[in-house]
């Protein structure tokens, strides 16, 4: 028997060339970089022991030397957070899956030796069996893995944007807490002089132990509130340190100890919900996963009936002559016709579709709620700033006039001052609520709000917030 070596070579080379694929560099990180840059204007860097690593580290150091603003803090975290670097490895893993999908299973080579009972030369037979269907479904498999890889790429970009949002939110938390300290110190000063006045009145014999104790208690309460706020500030700082991946000497950074004033309200876009749906990286990833599931259903359909289909070339040398002929073997679907796998795959698909739908609905609701929260916080902050604070200032001034007319005493006067300070604290509460809602909205839109139509605050119709009756 003569082996048709040429035919054999063709077959083998076909199998081998289609089965081998090279791993692309960076595993699609460039796409992540582009997405993040487009969405947030910030840079990400996958540290893979290159010169770029050092450049990123230098950039971090440079930023830490200046007082951090919210963008710088987010940038430091994006370059320096090791958990994020770990997330990038998902890309490698996913890409490995993609490569794997493109590879053919290795062919099975078998050989047999026959000993003729009647004597004579040995019967040698060889066979190379390649899973035939594996070859057949390779493009499909690659498509599935490709979709899964795309999903991973989007999920990685989403992780980047989530981290940036976490940092921004935490940054505003810290600024709000720092600003609260400023007011709480004023409260302490107020209660301190109130207590001091009480002590002096007591020394003069004019008020009771009870009165002094009450004033002293107010003073001590306010001190406790101050220390509690200081503790919160330290906690905020450490959370930021963790998010920015900082330790040791790198934790000496500073920030401006007060929230920025509201400058714009870029939430008026009528199709904000639509934008959120389009921009959502999570939804994009889910879409890719549905694609993968759909593709995988086709795959499952085809293979359900013939799950293992092997093809091969049998070469047999019989009586000194090589015979080459194809062989085919397949299971007869008497018992397992693949029904179970099919049902499971269809269920997976339907689940992915339902989840996708639900997620989209949730995003719409979230966007509406956040927009309302931000607008409401903005209106309330303006109400405090433009109505309440001037009112409390008027109250202080008129209380002082009443004090001057000797109608009321020092304690009532200081109380009025404290009310004014408390209104200042409420301003910080509403202002930080505004910034946090803004960050969350940006996160939901998977990027910066800068591109959404900015609307000046003066243009906001008051009818926009029917539920807030305190707005004049």
């Amino acid at each position: 028997m003569r082996i048709d070596a040429r035919a054999m070579a063709v077959l083998l080379s076909t199998i081998l060339t289609t089965g081998c694929a090279s791993i692309p560099e960076n595993a699609g990180f460039g796409g992540v970089q582009t997405t993040v840059a487009e969405r947030t204007g910030q840079r990400v860097q996958w540290n893979q022991d290159t010169d770029a690593d050092q450049a990123a580290e230098n950039a971090v150091r440079r930023m830490l030397r200046q007082p951090l603003n919210v963008d710088a803090a987010a940038q430091v975290a994006l370059l320096n957070n090791r958990r994020l670097q770990g997330v990038y490895e998902e890309l490698s893993l996913s890409q490995a899956g993609l490569v794997q999908a493109g590879l053919l299973t290795n062919p099975v080579f078998s050989t047999a030796v026959g000993f003729p009972l009647d004597g004579g030369s040995l019967d040698l037979s060889f066979s190379i069996v390649q899973e035939f269907l594996h070859v057949l479904y390779r493009p499909l498999r690659t498509k599935i893995a490709g979709a899964q890889f795309e999903a991973t790429r989007l999920r990685v970009a989403e992780a980047v944007i989530d981290l940036a949002a976490d940092v921004r939110g935490q940054f505003y938390h810290m600024q709000a807490d720092a600003q609260r300290l400023e007011f709480l110190r004023r409260v302490v000063r107020t209660t301190a002089v109130s207590a001091e006045a009480a002590r002096r009145l007591y020394a003069a014999g004019n008020i009771t132990d009870l009165d002094v104790a009450r004033e002293e208690a107010l003073y001590q309460e306010s001190r406790l509130a101050l220390v509690t706020a200081q503790t919160r500030l330290v906690q905020d700082r450490e959370r930021l340190n963790a998010l920015m991946g900082l330790w040791g000497n790198d934790t000496q950074w500073t920030i401006a100890p007060r929230l920025p004033e509201m400058h714009d309200l870029p939430f008026e876009s009528a199709n904000l919900e639509q934008r959120a749906i389009e921009a959502s990286l999570a939804l994009g990833a889910a879409r890719k996963e549905i694609e993968a599931a759909t593709a995988s259903l086709g795959f499952t359909d085809a293979t359900a009936l013939i799950p293992i289909l092997e093809s091969g070339v049998d070469a047999e040398r019989e009586e000194g002559e090589w015979e080459v002929g194809p062989s085919l073997a397949f299971p007869l679907p008497f018992f397992n016709q693949g029904q179970a796998r099919l049902v499971a795959a269809r269920a997976e698909l339907r689940r992915a579709q339902q989840t996708y739908w639900a997620q989209a609905v949730e995003i719409r609701a979230t966007v509406r709620a956040l927009r309302y929260t931000a607008l409401s916080a903005c209106n309330r902050a303006r109400h405090v700033q433009e109505v309440l604070l001037p009112l409390y200032t008027r109250i202080v001034n008129h209380t002082q006039l009443q004090y001057n007319a000797m109608q009321i005493g020092i304690f009532q006067l200081l109380q009025a001052r404290q009310q004014q300070i408390n209104a200042g604290l409420r301003y910080i509460d509403t202002l930080s609520e505004f910034w946090l809602a803004r960050v969350a909205l940006e996160q939901t839109l998977s990027g910066s709000l800068a591109e959404v139509d900015p609307v000046s605050m003066a243009e906001i119709p008051t009818g926009d917030l029917p539920a807030i009756s305190i707005i004049e």
Binding site: R186, R189, T190, A192, V193, E196, A197, R200, L201, A203, A204, G205, N206, I207, D211, V396, H398, Q400, L401, Q402, Y403, N404, A405, M406, Q407, I408, G409, I410, F411, Q412, L413, L414, R417
Partner: protein, 454 residues
């Protein structure tokens, strides 16, 4: 059904009975015995007053002086004195710097003094320009029941826009008052009252040269507000002679040796006032019940006038000078004093002012040694107070700040006066004013004063 004739008969019988008892009571005080005339309008006309012409100022009496106010004009129509009171809202100034929306009569708070003479027939029209119903009661007067003015009891309420007519004959003399008798609590608190002086037809004593009438009152006007609060029951903060608080009170001016009469009427809500006149002793000659027989008079320096009472006292202004006359309840000589702050007397403020000043610029601790300086702080302008409010005490005096407010006024007695206009501060004869004791005085009299450390 009552005929007019029967009605007259019935009422006259009932009236005669009442009047008899009254006449008897008055006999004890030496009044002419009288039989009431059966006349519907002037039923209290007594034969003793028949044929008397309406009393005329100068001829029949020395008109009273109502400092910061005046008497109500009248005219005579067919032998009847006709007056017209108009109850209405009035913007009234209590002292420079404090005005309030009050209720009064004829553009004044309190209403102008109604003056008449015993035996006069009077017809008083009352027009109601208030937003609420009202009535007028002639407090202390002996008159027919239907003229007594208690709304609901003796007459219908005078509704806004209506004009009522009161007619009666004055059968007594003395110091009385008129006031609203409808929702008294509100209306009197807002000012609806005024003096009513009836001069005697045949005075038993010489006529005074200077006859002053004061209505005492109390108000609650919160600092920075501009309307008296009638709901106040105890914590009044404005006390007035003729609805004026010192330094808004006009002085009484007298020529040396003038015969003086001072009439006090109290129609505040809740407080009695012991009015004290410096420099003189005097008998109280009259209450709202009539003259006090000389045998029952005693010398006083203070006249306690309870709510709803009147008192009149007389003396000769024989000691020149600026003599204080004031309520001796110390809180009644304060203006708009608050009572809602801690007692600061004796507190050592120390550096507290700087500490508080950093939180409240312009803060200053006050009252650690009393209220005496409050008025000066305010009036010097460096201590701002709410609009429409006056400091607790006083005004500038010839020597120093006068730390009195409220029910405080001055009797100015002068030897030479061209007119009864305010002559200004008294010029003291050399050496007659208390002054700083000199070292030689102290040495001479062996007065040891330990030098206090600064």
């Amino acid at each position: 059904m009552f005929t007019r004739r029967k009605f007259i008969t019935t009422s006259s019988v009932a009236f005669a009975g009442g009047a008899t008892g009254l006449a008897n009571a008055r006999d004890a005080r030496g009044k002419p015995e009288s039989v009431p005339r059966q006349d519907k309008s002037y039923s209290r006309s007594l034969p003793a007053y028949e044929g008397l012409a309406p009393g005329q100022p100068g001829r029949d009496y020395t008109p009273v002086i109502t400092p910061n106010n005046q008497s109500l004009p009248w005219k005579v129509v067919d032998g009847v004195k006709v007056y017209h009171l108009i109850a209405e809202p009035v913007d009234h100034e209590f002292a420079p710097g404090l005005k309030a929306k009050c209720w009064g009569y004829n553009g004044r708070v309190h209403g102008p003094t109604i003056e008449a003479v015993e035996g006069d027939k009077v017809r008083i029209y009352v027009t109601n320009k208030l937003p609420a119903g009202t009535s007028v009661h002639w407090h202390g007067l002996l008159l027919p029941n239907g003229m007594d003015g208690v709304a609901g009891l003796n007459q219908k309420i005078i509704r806004p826009g209506e004009t009522f007519k009161y007619e009666f004959t004055l059968v007594q003399h003395g110091t009385h008052m008129y006031h609203s008798h409808h929702d008294e609590m509100t209306q009197i608190a807002l000012g609806t009252t005024g003096p009513l002086v009836i001069h005697p037809r045949n005075p038993s004593r010489p006529r005074p040269d200077r006859d002053f009438v004061f209505m005492l009152h109390e108000w609650r006007i919160d600092v920075g507000t501009s309307r008296p609060n009638p709901n106040e029951m105890t914590d009044f903060n404005i006390f007035t002679f003729n609805a004026r608080s010192f330094p808004g009170t006009a002085p009484m001016v007298a020529r040396l040796d003038d015969r003086m009469r001072i009439r006090l009427i109290n129609l505040g809500a809740m407080s009695h006032h012991p009015i004290h006149l410096h420099g003189y002793q005097f008998p109280i000659v009259e209450t709202d019940g009539g003259q006090i027989p000389e045998s029952a008079q005693q010398l006083e320096t203070s006249v306690l006038t309870a709510v709803g009472q009147s008192r009149a006292f007389e003396f000769t202004a024989n000691e020149p000078g600026d003599w204080a006359m004031h309520c001796h309840m110390t809180h009644h000589v304060m203006n708009q004093m608050g009572h809602d702050f801690p007692n600061l007397i004796g507190m050592q403020a120390g550096d507290l002012d700087q500490q508080i000043g950093s939180l409240l610029p312009g803060y200053m601790t006050m009252g650690t040694d009393g209220m005496g300086e409050h008025g000066m702080h305010v009036q010097s302008g460096h201590m701002q107070v709410p609009k429409n409010s006056i400091p607790m005490v006083g005004g500038p005096g010839p020597f120093d700040y006068i730390t009195m407010g409220g029910l405080f006024t001055i009797l100015k007695v002068r030897e030479n006066l061209a007119s009864y206009d305010d002559p200004g501060w008294y010029e003291y004869p050399q050496g007659t004013v208390a002054s700083l004791a000199s070292d030689s005085d102290l040495r001479r009299d062996g007065i040891q004063v330990a030098r206090s450390q600064p």
